[in-house]
Subunit: 322 residues, 2 copies
């Protein structure tokens, strides 16, 4: 297990999630995990011991060398061998992509792709790729569209989610070389009924304005920058609101009395924007579900990741059983 | 003149700006301009008549054919011939880039580059390119850095503004092919004293969090998407705040009494995020200042564009501002 607050956050998150009726295996240092468990015993939490782990500063080559025995490697192998139904990690996200690629990649997928929900509207857009791939080709973008559409269907139950291509204009032919080419590929595949392509999508729509859209695909450089920009901008705007409200409180005698209600509103907005409510970004193109959690995940984020993964697996199995 | 509210907004904006002690020439249909002027006469506002103009739906080829006689073409020619010190347009931004490229491009610049201030912090980041260039090469990014640094210096008076490269990680070598290459080029040029390169910048910093940064360069596809995403997200967050405050107003009797103060705070945040306060995005790499205004510019946006351009020209000429 990894992450800024491992093992505490992960173990406490697993304890919270143990009530969900799932069997959890914690991959990591047994002594450290037991220190956090502090005598508490859960019949559905197992520990698989390893001392090897990926550190945030590790380079790709060194990660690849030690992968098989790291907590991440063991977790992925356990999923590939059928001992686990999915993997959740809050550790090194680049290493997660490498490990998932090595043990769990689906046939025909060049590299896994990372998606995330953008919490800027009531029906969050599922944006992918947000960082697993750069220098993306048109063919990759097409695959993102297929994988994103498939995932969104399982996730939400919506049969034919709308899929758009992130671009700098709405007309066909707009954008850089690969995006213009991707439009044509997607149009062809959509007309073959593979997914519900609705054309180019501009940044405003990803920001929650204009017509609702379910899935938006883009190069991982673009997606990663947007995701982090949104995190920064959310905090900046919250701060702006806070300081403006404070200023106006000086000129209105009722403001101090309304303070708790205003604070509650700010808190609710914060909650709607909080990644830990969403619980993990799905890595797609794999044979098993794989969620990458924020490095700073708290127990609630881990709990939500487990809950979401359980629901996803159930829906996927339900679909197959029908 | 162009824009969603032309000629009204442009003419009214020019009237507001006529008090700034500048000489303005309005390029457009004389009858329409006179209709808006409605008998009002300003000694420092001239009209140069043309019936040709670029329409929003025009394709590149047709723009190129009619350019010389369009209001945009005449304005750019007037600047290139020394009859004007700068150009402001709220029309077709793609056409503005084409026209500026044809008449005003500096030697050694491949294509002009569009920059804009991101209003997400007290010291807004100047982001470029936000849409004039796609499929950007490392050499282009280097030029963006040079032009951005030069502009920021004139604009703010700061001698050695910090310049960063937008990327998906802070370490050297991160990102896609061209960004990784651009890092090396910028490092070399920075050590030669050309500008103050501070390394890779992640999305969060552009969103106003982390260490302050003055100029951030990126490919125009990425920049355009971020800019429009920010516009969308700002509206979405304002709406979220509004609806949360409304909800909590039901449970707190003082909220209705504090309403005007709360509304004032929301308005102040809105004002800080409002493009029209900034008045135009500078197109760089030209022999004369050229501002592209939002298509939906109101008179205040036009006024601010003129004011900012006047100040910029004075600083470039070594004069102090009013």
């Amino acid at each position: 297990m990894g992450g800024d607050y491992a093992p505490e956050s992960i173990v406490e998150g697993a304890i919270l999630a143990s009530s969900l009726g799932v069997n959890l295996t914690l991959f990591g240092n047994e002594d450290e995990v037991n220190r956090v468990l502090d005598g508490r015993d859960f019949s559905n939490i197992k520990i698989q011991h390893t001392e090897e782990k990926v550190d945030m500063g590790d380079k790709v080559a060194s990660v690849l060398r030690k992968i098989p025995e790291t907590s991440l490697g063991l977790a992925a192998r356990s999923a590939s061998e059928g001992d686990s139904d999915g993997v959740i990690s809050a550790g090194h996200s680049g290493a997660s992509v490498l490990v998932a690629s090595k043990y769990l990649k689906r046939k025909g997928v060049r590299k896994p792709v990372l998606g995330t929900f953008m919490p800027t509207s009531d029906n969050p857009v599922f944006l992918l790729d947000v960082g697993a791939n750069v220098d993306t080709k048109a063919e990759d973008l097409l695959m993102f569209a297929q994988l994103g559409s498939e995932f969104y269907s399982f996730w939400s139950g919506k049969k034919s989610p709308t899929v758009g291509l992130l671009n700098i204009g709405s007309e066909k032919g707009k954008g850089d070389r690969e995006s213009a080419k991707a439009y044509e590929l997607m149009e062809m595949n959509a007309s073959a009924g593979e997914f519900n392509f609705v054309g180019n999508i501009e940044g405003r729509q990803v920001g929650g304005q204009g017509e609702e859209i379910n899935v938006v695909v883009c190069d991982g450089f673009v997606g990663n920058v947007i995701l982090k920009f949104a995190e920064g901008m959310a905090i900046s705007l919250m701060t702006m609101f806070g300081s403006e409200l404070k200023k106006s409180a000086k000129n209105n005698i009722f403001m101090p009395l309304a303070k708790s209600a205003i604070k509650g509103s700010l808190k609710n907005v914060k909650k709607r924007l909080d990644y830990s409510e969403y619980g993990g970004a799905p890595l797609l193109g794999l044979t098993k579900p794989f969620f990458i959690c924020h490095g700073s995940s708290n127990p609630k984020a881990i709990f939500n990741a487990v809950k979401n993964m359980k629901n996803l697996i159930m829906r996927q199995n339900g679909e197959k059983n029908d």
